[in-house]
Amino acid sequence: MKKILLALFICAVACNLAYAGPALKKNCGCGMGSILFENNDGLMSQTAAATTNGLFGNQTFGISSGTLECNQPEAFYGSQMLHRFVAENMDSLAKDISRGQGESLETLAVLMDVPQQQRGEFSAKLQSNFSRIFTSPQVTEEEVVNNIITVTKTA
């Protein structure tokens, strides 16, 4: 029980305290298959508790880490925003990398400051190294970021 409570607590922190209340059912975004399952229809928001903690503060990228749940990657590359983005968009990113194109992949390039003229090469490299980045179904966000960095560094 204590463990569960601790896990819930960590999850709440990781998802930015703003999400704490009703959002506990949300998967915090580490690894594949992490999808928001709350069925918000936009009109009715069960996560509106988020709003009561202040509009911008906690939900704004980069102000606090969104991925505390996952250990910080060894090679801390770029901003916390990169990590949060990878953690929360793992499936789209994996899909885009396997196809060598797509909006999530472009966003990754932006967050990693890849210059415009090198993005084609960047995508191709990630695509051909897909299996080295997404090594297993249980791969975590920190592993993915580290693998991406390793792959892009090797010629």
Partner: protein, 630 residues
Amino acid sequence: MLRHAISLFLFSAALVCAGRAAGAEASYVNHLINKVGQQKLHQNRYWHILLHYKKTLFGYESVIDDPRFFLAPDGKHDPQAELAATLRAFFSPPDDPANPPVCRFIARYAWLKEQLGFDEAQLALASCRKFEKTMEVIRPKAATIIFPAAYMNNPASMFGHTFINIETENRSKLLSHAVNYSAFTTETNGLVFALKGLSGFYKGYFSILPYYEKVQEYSDINQRDIWEYRLNFTQAEVKKMVMHIWELQEIYAYYYFFDENCSYHILFLLEAGRPGLHLTDQPNQWVIPIDTVRALQDDGVIESADYRPSRATKIRYLAAALDRQEQKTALSLARGAIAPERVLQRDISLRDKAGILDLATEYLQYTYVKKEIPKDRYTALFLGLLQARSTLGKGAGPQHEPPAPADPEKGHESNRVALGFGVKKGTWFEELRLRPAYHSLTDNDAGYERGAQIQFMNTVLRYYSAKNDVQLKSLDVIDIISLSPRDLLFKPFSWKVKTGFRQQLMPDGRDHLIYQLHTGGGYAYSNKQLGLYYGMVEGAVNFSGSFKKNYALGIGAAIGLKKNITDRWTLLLEARSLYYGLGDEHTTHELTMKHNIALSAKRSLSWEVSRTRTFGIYQTDVVCMWNLYF
């Protein structure tokens, strides 16, 4: 440059408490309040925008309900008192030095400072560090109105939702900040939610999320296409808007589904950015989200429209490029019945291999989101498919993005009035129809879901000049139809619900007004030649004093077809039989044919023929209508 601008725009906010004598402050404030009176600033439109004041019969009232939004006790109703109280609060030592009124109401401050030329040395002002930091992170650059189109199989969602994206400099769209206004509730009973939502029981708050979360929510989970309307706001206008959003933190306004809803409240944000816009001044009526977009289009605010297809749309698009055998292969892949390598080994083009794998991947994700498979199975299959896909290299991929359909903003408008004439049993009549909202199956469906109908308070009046008799032909309080075609990949259910008053032929050979609740459910299919066709099992219950037993309860079936003969010409055919076994026993059979030709986005011509048999009596009804959408 930007950072510089931001610091400037923070009004050199890092002024520290001047520690002046209270008397001096008070006299300066009184001086300012006098100035306000002379300039009549409390009557200024921008003040009314910032406080969300609306004119009422006796004065003003703000649509914001949270008392913390007002500094004067009667600030909700008194713009002048609120302005004076605001100035007093600005020039008094703050109760909470970490969050002084100057920082909390930063848009008010900026505007009043500009209007009155504050002597900031008089200000008991701490720095607005939190705001400053937030602005540095957000770096607001551009704004977009986001309009998620209707759910598949949920016509009520045509009312949709709208929110604003604040885009950041040099960043991908996915990283922009989605500003929402939504009702806060933990209610999970849809009916209770609807009833309470209609009558303003819920508090609505603004919230901000990364846009990619909204994309996941709408495109990936709810299968709604998204339209992104980029506004031609300047960076300065976007900043003004963000300052006002800042003021609305943790502030509630009661949520009313039809009028004071998400679309309505974000209009104030737009006006705060560009006060020249008059969006909230429209006469009180239902705010239908797409009408908001239309109003913006009319004001020349929309620069461009981008389409973001939902996952279901992508699946249909990918499937359409493949033959049935290949679609089945993709389905087997998504179910894990065959290994992805088998596709790689096939003697087909790279493009087809990619197409099959992509379809399988999207479909797998779709079934996962629908909770049809557990997570570990999903991730294993998902990774296997992607590994195979990555070996195909670049350039193998088909074009993933489905082409944009007609922009919903270009579709017909929501109100409809129709005038026409017809003949029944040899008697001519004139007919008037009024429909405040929203769309029927026969209305031109450019910009709408093909199989969706949702009408409220559709009222039909007939005048028989020979008898000098006005008749309420029908009044459909609610009339919803959802036809979603089934295919290899999607197996949705189609349904309808309709309730309201209508005339029914009784055994005495005359029409009588009855109240009817009529529902049905079944399957729909689609085919290029036939169009959309469907069959439903239906049930109806009728109430009327004209029945011997005051009611009749029946079941039956209907088949129908909707075909767009051309882009402008829609045909609807329907046959229905209902057997009423309880109450007044009788049967009804009806055959209807409706044609509608759109003359423009605003006008159409329609004619309808129906042949019915009720209580054994045949009747034919022919009517020709001219429709105006506005």
